[in-house]
Structures are given as structure tokens and as C-alpha cells.
Symmetry: C2
Subunit: 151 residues, 2 copies
DNA sequence: TATATTTAAGATATAAGAGTCTTATTTCTT
DNA sequence: AAGAAATAAGACTCTTATATCTTAAATATA
């Protein structure tokens, strides 16, 4: 797949938190249960997002995680870069590390074009936009019915 | 990266063979040396392409591999599917296996659009087209100078 | 102050991808 | 017929991604 499993977990968790922006903190336990993800694994993933300044966390009772900034200002790209790195938006499709505009591989130009579109999409797509659509259209964030998510 | 390392090796090797379509067979040893890939690893990869009917092989002296069909009729997509499977062209960006048009994830539509473009690109891009551009424009297939390839 | 609740951190385990090595098997050449 | 040259096949190793488990640290509440 185009992003790692770790990264898709991160995006889905961030969306879950964005859907509950009204609450000060959401526990990782709750997120993991609603999304069907391993609690411990999700903890590590969200630690990374916290270290990258995308989320903030708070220990102890009533603690949990929350978005470090308004959902409107956090793009999907930020999360992808935080977890998977820049490679998706800069790498050569054939994995050649000396491939560049001056010495391109045969797929360089075509891939660069698509990659730019992907980057634009990821940059423009914010957590707020997606959360809004999830609310309005009841889109799914997990492999089970959407209803259970917004509760 | 968007395709596996195995898959990019496969594409590059197929292009090398396409560049030498005049020869009955090209040895895997020669391909591996010109592309800077492990001989044994490449052998396994090309075995897969042979089993999928994309290449043919011949044992013994003067043996090697060659394209099973004219380079014009082999698309990059065929190779990607042979090695990495259909996932890239059908999977959900968030990895949800129940995501579909009726019950989409929040990124479903946008990703479907880009994915279709990717599929079109990969379907329309043939080994012949790329080999032609490599010849004319001296594009690179390896992490070293293009010249050494066409020899 | 003690206890429960929560994230942080690090060690460990499992699975998959990537890569290597050895031994067939086929075919050509002498 | 023998030996050399090539791919085929399978076992094996190494690395990275994924996942789990345990202990520590912080905070609230009784």
C-alpha cells in the first residue's frame, strides 16, 4: 500500500480525536477500542505524533491525547511525513537514489506529475475537512459500522 | 515507496531485456551486473516473471531470459501486478478492507481518482515506450551512468 | 499519603520483505 | 559421454515493520 500500516493507524486515530475536539483529552484506550486497533501499538504511534508536535498528551486520570492545534490546520501530509517520512513525496519510483531532474529514470516525469497531485491532495486535506465529512456523511473509520464511532 | 523494491528490480530488469530485444536471450548475470543488483535475488525475481508469462527463459549455454511478447505489448502495470499484486490499484488508502463505494472511508473518492490516473499511466506505459526513451534520451536505469547500460 | 488512572519508554516477540547460498535440472559444446 | 554454462527450486539468513509486554513516570482523587 502507498502508506504504511502504522501511518494509516495514525491518520485514523487523529481523525477520531478530531471528531471529539470538544473534549479536553481522549484516552488512547477509547480510540483503540473504537477503531479496532491494538492499544499498545496505538500508544507508540501516538507518542510519535506527540513528539512531532501534532498532538499533546496528558498523563493520569482524565488524561489522554488531543490535537496540538485546530483540526483545520493539520493536514494529512503532516501525519504521513511524521510517520513515514518524506520519501513518498520525493523518491524515485524505481528506487534510484541518483535519479533527479537532470539525470532522470524513464518514469521520472510521469511519476513526478502524479506525485505532485498526491502531495497537493494530502496538503490540502485537513483533519477538519475529513472530520466534517465523516460527521455529515457517516463515513467509516473502521472495519465496522460508522455509527459506533461518533458515539 | 509506492512499489516494492522487488518490483522496481523487476521493471528495471525487464527494461534492460527490452533494450536488447534483438538478442535471443540475455543472461541474468549480465543484467545483474549492468543494473548493480544481486544475481541470486534477480534470478528469483525473473523466475516469477517467467512463471507469470511475461518472460521466457532458456537453460544452458546461450540461454538466459527474454520477453515472452513484444515489448510494445507489455505494460508496467503487468509487471507491478505480477510482483506486488492488485492492491495498489484497488486497495483503500487507509487499509480498510470493508471500504467501498457504498461505505467509503473519508479519503475514498480522492484516492480513487488519483489511483485511476496511476493505473492509466501504468497501463499505457509499455516497455517499448520506455526503452525507446532510454535509447533516445540516455535515461538512467541504474545508480550509475546510463552509457554503461546500452553497451 | 495511598491508590487508581493514564501516558512514556524500552525490551522483547512475531511476521514479512529482502537477500544469500546450495543443490538440482536443462542444454550446449567438445 | 563428459564437462561447462545457464536457469529452477528450495532452504536459509538478515533486516525492517508490526505488534506485544513490562516497568516507569505523572497526575488526580479519596
Amino acid at each position: 500500500m502507498i502508506i504504511s500500516k502504522t501511518c494509516d493507524h495514525a491518520i485514523r486515530a487523529a481523525l477520531y480525536v478530531a471528531l471529539h475536539e470538544d473534549r479536553a483529552y481522549v484516552t488512547i484506550r477509547e480510540i483503540s477500542e473504537h477503531l479496532g486497533l491494538s492499544f499498545h501499538f496505538l500508544t507508540k504511534i501516538l507518542q510519535a505524533l506527540t513528539q512531532k508536535g501534532i498532538m499533546t498528551s496528558f498523563k493520569g486520570p482524565n488524561g489522554g491525547v488531543s490535537l496540538a492545534r485546530p483540526a483545520q490546520s493539520i493536514s494529512i501530509k503532516e501525519i504521513v511525513v511524521a510517520i513515514d517520512g518524506e520519501a513518498l513525496f520525493s523518491g524515485c519510483m524505481l528506487g534510484l537514489d541518483t535519479c533527479n531532474d537532470d539525470h532522470p529514470c524513464p518514469l521520472h516525469q510521469q511519476w513526478a506529475n502524479l506525485r505532485d497531485q498526491l502531495e497537493t491532495l494530502f496538503t490540502q486535506t485537513t483533519l477538519a475537512y475529513l472530520a466534517d465529512r465523516i460527521r455529515r456523511e457517516g463515513l467509516r473509520l473502521a472495519n465496522f459500522e460508522a455509527v459506533s464511532l461518533v458515539s
